[in-house]
Point group: C2
């Protein structure tokens, strides 16, 4: 009883992408070459490529070959950043303060994150929109997976680009859980609100190309100047 053979092909390709040997936009070996290299049938290689395509990891172009899906800074922002102005235009609230610290993982973090880390790095940032403090975001990652994060401060606005370029960690998927909460005293002060004001709370769990849960994030937003947009179809 082992893994199905196509899984071996998938793992090989994903490992090469994660290692930076195959770059976004780069071409993959042909089905024939992959089959020969990995020691599987060409049909098995084809099946693996089809599954990678279904997951959006590669793109097959008729008569040209198979390419690693390009995930540019813009597409990352577009895919993972759902805040909009009330009129629907995209906004990028500016980071106005940032605190990065290593600390012991709490029980929930240890359970959820990849390899059940004892130590996590917490990145806490306040974002501002048109000069109004509007968001408090707290991202928590396994310290061992992202060594030296604190030394890279100030971090770029879009962390996933840093994860990819600095650590070959490609975030492909996030689950968000949205609720409404009232602001406590500390949050209200940071956001310039009366305690008890309504805030949108977004909890995110992000998974990378290797299927590892690499980040938990919770964010609080005041929604007088922004909203969260979703398209269902």
């Amino acid at each position: 009883m082992g893994l199905p053979l196509y899984q071996k092909v998938i793992d090989t390709i994903v490992a090469r992408i994660a290692a930076g040997e195959l770059l976004p936009g780069g071409i993959l070996p042909s089905e024939f070459q992959l089959a020969a290299e990995i020691g599987v049938s060409q049909g098995t290689a084809r099946k693996a490529l089809m599954m990678l395509e279904q997951h959006g990891i590669v793109r097959r172009e008729q008569g040209r070959g198979t390419f690693v899906t390009a995930r540019t800074p813009d597409s990352s922002l577009f895919n993972f950043f759902r805040l909009r102005r009330p009129d629907g235009t995209i906004i990028k609230p500016e980071v106005v303060s940032e605190e990065i610290r290593e600390r012991p993982a709490d029980a929930a973090e240890q359970t959820a994150l990849h390899e059940h880390p004892d130590l996590v790095t917490e990145i806490r940032r306040v974002r501002s929109l048109d000069g109004v403090a509007s968001a408090i975001e707290t991202a928590v990652v396994p310290a061992a997976l992202f060594p030296g994060l604190a030394r890279r401060a100030p971090l770029p606005s879009a962390l996933y680009i840093l994860y990819q370029q600095g650590y070959s960690c490609i975030v492909l998927r996030a689950e968000e859980t949205i609720t409404a909460v009232t602001a406590g005293a500390a949050e209200a002060e940071l956001l310039g609100l009366t305690p008890g004001s309504a805030l949108l709370r977004v909890e995110r769990v992000a998974t990378d190309i290797l299927g590892r849960v690499v980040e938990r994030r919770h964010s609080l937003y005041r929604t007088d100047g922004l909203c969260y947009k979703v398209t269902l179809e």
Copy 2:
């Protein structure tokens, strides 16, 4: 300058689906037949089918033909109903009260809805989860597009199935705008909360297969027992 020819094919097929002549799951005429019927080239018919497939309206199966995408009650609920328990399981809060009335459209409704209606039908429902009133949903549709809605009361829990089966109106797409608000006195009373409690507000604009904006809906949810889930990828 007219519409491109493939648009003529798309409009013909969509009109037949909307009229109920082509049913969900049913097979379409072949490219050859479509081309002959509508008076276009087979290449044009093929292009139209490819575009309909991209929009998820038809599904092409190699060697079998092209089929109207089935939108079953379950897939509708799954696609358009993002409420979950905090543990992620799907919930279907039960309708506990329903008021349906025709009234004049307000300015925003007249602007947004199909054919700028003077008269709209408003469906206001309270939903309950585990015996706790948890949601106030208000759907507004053009009265002329859905004649006799009030006489069909009580309406099914999933309105889009009624729109489809009773009015051949197939909702394909919705845009949701999510904010956090505090409960006013009336809302607090309906939901058994203290005024000032935080509520999730979801505004939805729904578009049907013909590209018509057929419904505006705003919903208020208490999020102590439920949450709104989104997957980003």
